[in-house]
């Protein structure tokens, strides 16, 4: 089970990677495995603002539909449009091609509340 060390994680299995004031968001390998084959992902529009740990969209797998939660607050500056036509990218590459959003953080301090890789590994083991 891959849990990249440079990322931060939420209780709800989202990850972020931070570059400057922009956070890239996706879901963990564990999360995609639990969901199974993803068939649809509903993401917000660019320009929408999100609040930390509020739902920003939904992910639908054969088994179940789940909410997606924003790891940090801010404005959405980019959405991965590949996922519209190829939602299975999240299964194949949860940490790279399967990223979902880029958020311009309104409060970078919030990231301190997230888990580091070791803590997250412990949570899912």
């Amino acid at each position: 089970m891959q849990v990249p060390g440079k990322l931060l994680y939420t209780e709800e299995h989202e990850w972020i990677s931070i570059e400057g004031d922009v956070a890239t968001v996706g879901i963990s390998e564990y999360a995609q495995g639990e969901l199974g084959d993803v068939v649809f992902i509903e993401l917000p529009k660019v320009g929408t603002t999100v609040k930390q740990m509020e739902s920003f969209g939904t992910i639908e797998a054969v088994k179940a539909v789940s909410d997606l939660f924003a790891p940090v607050s801010g404005e959405i500056v980019e959405v991965n449009s590949v996922l519209n036509d190829a939602p299975e990218t999240v299964n194949k590459s949860p940490y790279k091609e399967g990223w979902m959003l880029r958020i311009r953080m309104s409060d970078p301090e919030e990231a301190k509340q997230l888990m580091d890789a070791d803590t997250y590994k412990e949570k899912i083991s």
Binding site: G36, V39, E60, V62, K63, A64, V65, P87, E88
Partner: protein
């Protein structure tokens, strides 16, 4: 196709007067042109591929796939019920109105509640109706509340109906025993909460033993108690939800009361309420006076009409038949039988699968396939393998609080032999998981079609008929 249309018995209008030329088809519709025997063979062949409760054991948890007695079909087809026109005057349908009145009384008695509407056409439609009644109640009190509390073990329809009705769902955690976490309930309860939506027994099949305390907490804050009656098959004649403190209850006639289920039903989701909510019930309702029965539209605080005419009438006739055939004692025996069958089946399989919540279940139970997962076998594989043994699979991956869930509800209409033969298959599958997991990965192999690609079916939905000569 395969059909001769009768002569029209009403005057025929010229199509050009009804629809401007530009909206009319220029070429004939491309429909399969085949004869009556070809149509019959097509559907008869399809029907032999179908799996249904008349063919075998159907332990689909939470769905109560009990046998549907055939007498229900006979009564609903009686000309006085089956040939009615919904626009007939009340005076010519007195028997039908009396039946509606009576089944309403029976359901109120079973639920321990005071008023009812038979209009909702399904369980989730009943939920929406119930939530609209809750809103009407709070609005009349002068405070529009915002939230509906829903446990994390709830049916997905509960939060969905909550959102559709304009409320916001708030999730309450289950405790280690699988019951409502009272601490969290207390924390979340305030004057913005309109109601708690609870299934009892819950989706783990466990009776909420703290129900009196829960009702106390909810009512103290001025909120209401909604019961999802999906699991009423465990309670008939034993416990009345109204006596437990519930204010609103929807029944699923297609589960508990043996009306056809699955493949579109249609269902029926009557909603019963306590006295303080009667004024808000949908109209028309049935009124009895000296001249007999009539539809009454005189309820000024009603939330309005929830369905065309009066709900799925022929379904209601079937449920009425079921109640009258069994009587009060028979209905209690239904629930006793459902509880005994579930617990007997659990006793046969519990050593071979994990049971994460240990309290004695009622009419259904939830296993976990976690032990099998260690051999690389998923719950989905177990479910698919059961098809090879001629059984319908249980509900899988629900409730969400159980990892690799297998939710099993045998119902009261199964014999001891049927339950034992299903248990034998479950035990054999547990052994296969350990010894030859590839058999499970490849299952099913004896069914008309083998393992389907469910993800592709959802991603690339394409069900258009392809004409061979086009």
């Amino acid at each position: 196709m395969g059909v001769n249309l009768p002569e029209a018995d009403v005057p025929q209008a010229n199509i050009d007067e009804l629809l401007p030329k530009k909206f009319q088809r220029q070429t004939p519709a491309c429909l399969p042109e085949i004869s009556e025997p070809e149509v019959i063979r097509h559907f008869v062949n399809l029907s032999t591929l179908n799996y249904h409760v008349d063919k075998g054991f159907y332990p689909l948890g939470s769905c109560t796939m009990k046998y549907n007695p055939k007498i229900n079909e006979e009564t609903q087809a009686l000309p006085g019920f089956g040939s009615l026109h919904p626009h007939q005057p009340d005076s010519s349908v007195q028997g039908a109105l009396e039946l509606l009145q009576e089944i309403g009384e029976y359901l109120c008695e079973i639920g321990g509640l005071q008023g009812i509407t038979l209009q909702p056409a399904a369980g989730a439609h009943g939920e929406l109706t119930g939530l609209m009644l809750i809103r009407a109640y709070h609005d009349a009190k002068g405070k529009r509340r915002k939230y509906i509390l829903v446990p994390d073990s709830a049916h997905g329809t509960n939060p969905a109906s909550t959102s559709i009705s304009g409320y916001q769902p708030l999730q309450i955690k289950s405790n280690e025993q699988g019951l409502v976490d009272l601490e969290q309930l207390r924390t979340y309860m305030n004057e913005d909460v309109a109601a708690l939506m609870l299934t009892n027994p819950n989706t783990l099949g466990i009776f909420e033993s703290q129900i009196s305390e829960i009702a106390g907490i909810v009512h103290e804050a001025g909120a209401l108690m909604y019961m999802d009656g999906a699991n009423m098959n465990a309670l008939l004649g034993i416990v009345r939800p109204g006596d437990l403190g519930f204010d609103v209850l929807h029944f699923n006639l297609h589960k508990t009361f043996s009306t056809p289920h699955g493949g579109g039903g249609p269902g029926a989701g009557p909603v019963a309420v306590s006295g303080k909510m009667i004024d808000f019930l949908p109209q028309p309702c049935i009124k009895k006076n000296d001249d007999g029965f009539s539809f009454d539209y005189g309820r000024s605080d009603s939330i309005g009409k929830m369905s065309t005419f009066y709900g799925n009438f022929s379904i209601i006739v079937r449920a009425f038949t079921y109640i009258r055939m069994l009587g009060a004692r028979g209905l209690r025996e239904v629930s006793e039988g459902a509880i005994i069958n579930a617990n007997y089946l659990l006793s046969l399989v519990k050593d071979y699968y994990d049971l994460p919540y240990k309290l004695t279940p009622m009419h259904e139970f939830v296993l976990s396939g976690e032990r099998q997962l260690e051999y690389g076998v998923k719950t989905l594989d177990i479910a698919k393998r059961l098809l090879d043994f001629g059984f319908h699979a249980p509900t899988v991956y629900f409730p969400l609080i159980v990892h690799e869930a297998l939710m099993i509800e045998p119902t009261e209409t199964e014999s001891k032999a049927a339950i034992e033969s299903f248990a034998d298959a479950m035990i054999l599958i547990a052994k296969e998981a350990e010894e030859k997991p590839q058999v499970l990965h490849e299952a099913p192999t004896t069914t008309p079609v083998s393992r389907l690609d469910e993800a592709m079916a959802a991603r690339e939905l394409n069900i258009r008929y392809l004409f061979s000569d086009k």
